[in-house]
């Protein structure tokens, strides 16, 4: 029997961060409901941001979806987590910088600040009774000892799933597999999130799944920052022989066609949000 790997689609969140790509709220609802209908396990619907596109589309997706987990991405900020929680998604994903480059250069903070902020965010989500996953951003360039200590801390707080994000796409297959095997020792559920800077996102995701990852992220057409994310069609097409993915590459192809029609100026109806 094939091992189950859950597919997480992040077209509506990380995919839309590809410069120049804009989804209207109605586009997001159409795409999300299509992805839900073909068996995608989790759909990252967006970033809570009332000032940009409103929040009604999230409740509409939540109301109409059949089976997928709908998640919202939040910064490592208790207020953001609280705002996300008020939208009542199935899951909140908390993006947590973990490499020294991101912690010290980007945020100007330190490891202690990360630990404290994360605990505050976890507490807020718990108060709203909404499950979370923690996205370890730039995990591929992070100190593994820090990752492991942070994961142990999270587990004590009840977090069950972390996302290993290869934020700048620098993993090679060998290191990608090693990283998963190292983190797997903590007993946490692992989701992997690959970027395609060297054209290795699909291969790395495959090796990480083979090494014990439980969930794989990707986007339709592989859209995303820079050279994009793991291309869902390519991953599903290659991985289906090894894993039970609950979604077929043929259906993903249909999703790509829907996305293309939207990006080519398909009919919009934004009056509802």
């Amino acid at each position: 029997m094939k091992r189950r790997i859950k597919i997480v689609d992040t077209t509506l969140r990380d995919g839309e961060q590809c410069p120049g790509i804009v989804f209207s709220p109605s586009d997001k609802v159409r795409l999300a409901l299509f992805l839900d209908s073909i068996g995608v396990s989790e759909i990252e619907a967006g970033i809570y941001d009332v000032g940009t596109e409103g929040v009604h589309y999230i409740s509409e997706i939540m109301k109409k979806k059949k089976q997928a987990v709908i998640s919202l991405w939040s910064k490592l900020n208790p207020e953001n987590v609280e705002e996300s929680a008020r939208q009542k998604p199935d899951l909140i994903h908390i993006g947590t910088p973990v490499s020294y480059a991101q912690i010290y250069n980007k945020l100007g903070k330190n490891k202690k600040w990360i630990e404290n902020s994360l605990q505050e965010c976890i507490k807020v989500a718990r108060d709203y009774n909404i499950p979370i996953t923690v996205g370890l951003e730039d995990a591929s360039r992070a100190d593994v000892a820090f990752l492991v200590s942070l994961i142990r801390l999270m587990k004590q707080q009840g977090v069950e799933t972390i996302r290993l994000a290869d934020t700048v796409g620098v993993l090679f297959p060998r290191r990608a597999g090693e990283l998963v095997r190292e983190i797997k020792q903590t007993g946490i559920t692992i989701e992997v999130h690959e970027h395609n800077d060297f054209g290795m996102a699909v291969a790395n995701s495959m090796v990480m799944a083979l090494s014990g990852a439980d969930m794989v992220d990707g986007t339709l057409l592989g859209i995303g920052e820079r050279a994009g994310n793991c291309n869902l069609y390519e991953f599903v097409h290659s991985a289906a022989r090894k894993f039970d993915l609950s979604v077929s590459s043929l259906d993903i192809k249909k999703g790509e066609n829907l996305l293309k029609s939207i990006m080519n100026g398909g009919k919009r109806n934004d009056s509802e949000d």
Binding site: V22, R226, S238
Partner: protein, 327 residues
């Protein structure tokens, strides 16, 4: 020493190639530290045997007895040769388990293995480890195919495991192969391959390839896409402007590209301040108001806000300010 051999010219049989473009393509490959280039008899005839120096020339030649017709070619690739001297024997490997056939093969045999699409999709890690060990022992030219979308990763993985390894690739991965540019840059960034060499000529290679094939390479193609250093989201713009390596695995200049801040739905205040600074207008406009206008327009038009549109917004702000002062 790692060697990368480019076989792009063997994939362009159906295109109307010109001698000058082929020469330029080969010279550019050499400047990118590509060890060799593979051609076909047709390309050789187009070149009239006048092959640029500085690069090792290989030829796909099904019938090795014809090799005497092609002076200047260093090695011939064929499935019907013994793999000695200047002949390299090609073997198609469709499954990682077929690597067992390499047991006993010595590294002084000239071999090229084509295929191995599923090397990274292994049944068990042991099978992969054994396969890689056999590959290192036989040290063939590895020419991975891309039916599992893993060819560039397979080539890079082989070179990372085998520092005297040789891979064969094609530009953009044309012909369902590993992509030359992806393997070069991955080795450069992760393995510090040729650390003092500039790879900015990749942009020239892209243009040459587009001319030869009459195609346009998509903007977000890894390494060579024209838009891979375009940034829009507030979080990323802020991070990159603080320190580019926060969100870039290599600097754009390394591949002859440049960074550009795009305005749109996902922009943040940092992007507006950055653009205003470009126009020497940092403190002259309300950032939040402009940001709101940018987001609104981006959502309305379903795409990025151009610099011209941003300038129009700035002038609208001016008019609004004046009207308020007069009222």
């Amino acid at each position: 020493m790692i060697k990368i051999i480019d076989a792009t010219l063997t994939m362009l049989e159906e295109y109307p190639l010109k001698k000058e473009l082929i020469s330029e393509f080969a010279r550019t490959l050499e400047s990118l530290c590509v060890w060799g280039a593979v051609i076909t008899p047709r390309v050789y005839q187009l070149m009239q045997g006048d092959l640029p120096q500085g690069i090792t020339w290989y030829m796909e030649l099904p019938n090795p007895t014809e090799s005497g017709r092609y002076p200047g070619i260093h090695f011939f690739l064929s499935s019907f040769c013994d793999g000695t001297g200047k002949y390299i024997r090609n073997i198609q490997v469709n499954d990682v388990s077929e690597l067992r056939g390499l047991e006993g093969a010595r590294s002084d045999n000239n071999l090229r293995l084509t295929g191995l699409d599923d090397l990274l999709i292994y049944e068990s890690r042991d099978i992969y480890e054994r396969g890689m060990k056999l590959l290192i022992q036989a040290s063939p030219i590895l020419y991975p195919e891309n039916s599992c979308y893993c060819a560039s990763a397979i080539a890079a993985d082989y070179l990372q495991n085998h520092h005297n390894g040789t891979v064969m690739t094609t530009f953009t991965g044309i012909g369902n192969k590993a992509a030359t540019e992806q393997v070069i840059l991955a080795m450069r960034v992760v393995e510090r391959y040729k650390p003092n060499n500039s790879f900015e000529k990749l942009a020239d290679l892209r243009s040459l390839f587009e001319t030869m094939t009459n195609t346009q390479i998509p903007g977000h193609t890894p390494v060579i896409g024209r838009k891979i250093f375009y940034i829009e989201s507030g979080l990323h713009v802020d991070g990159v402007l603080k320190k580019p390596s926060n969100y870039e695995s290599f600097p754009p200049e390394l591949v002859g590209a440049s960074r550009k801040v795009i305005l749109g739905k996902h922009s943040g205040g940092t992007s507006i301040r950055y653009k205003l600074k470009q126009y020497h207008m940092e403190d002259c406009y309300p950032v939040e108001h402009l940001l709101e206008m940018v987001k609104r327009l981006s959502i309305k038009k379903g795409g990025e806000v151009t610099d011209e549109e941003f300038l129009t917004m700035m002038s609208e702000c001016d008019k609004y300010e004046k009207a308020n002062q007069n009222s």
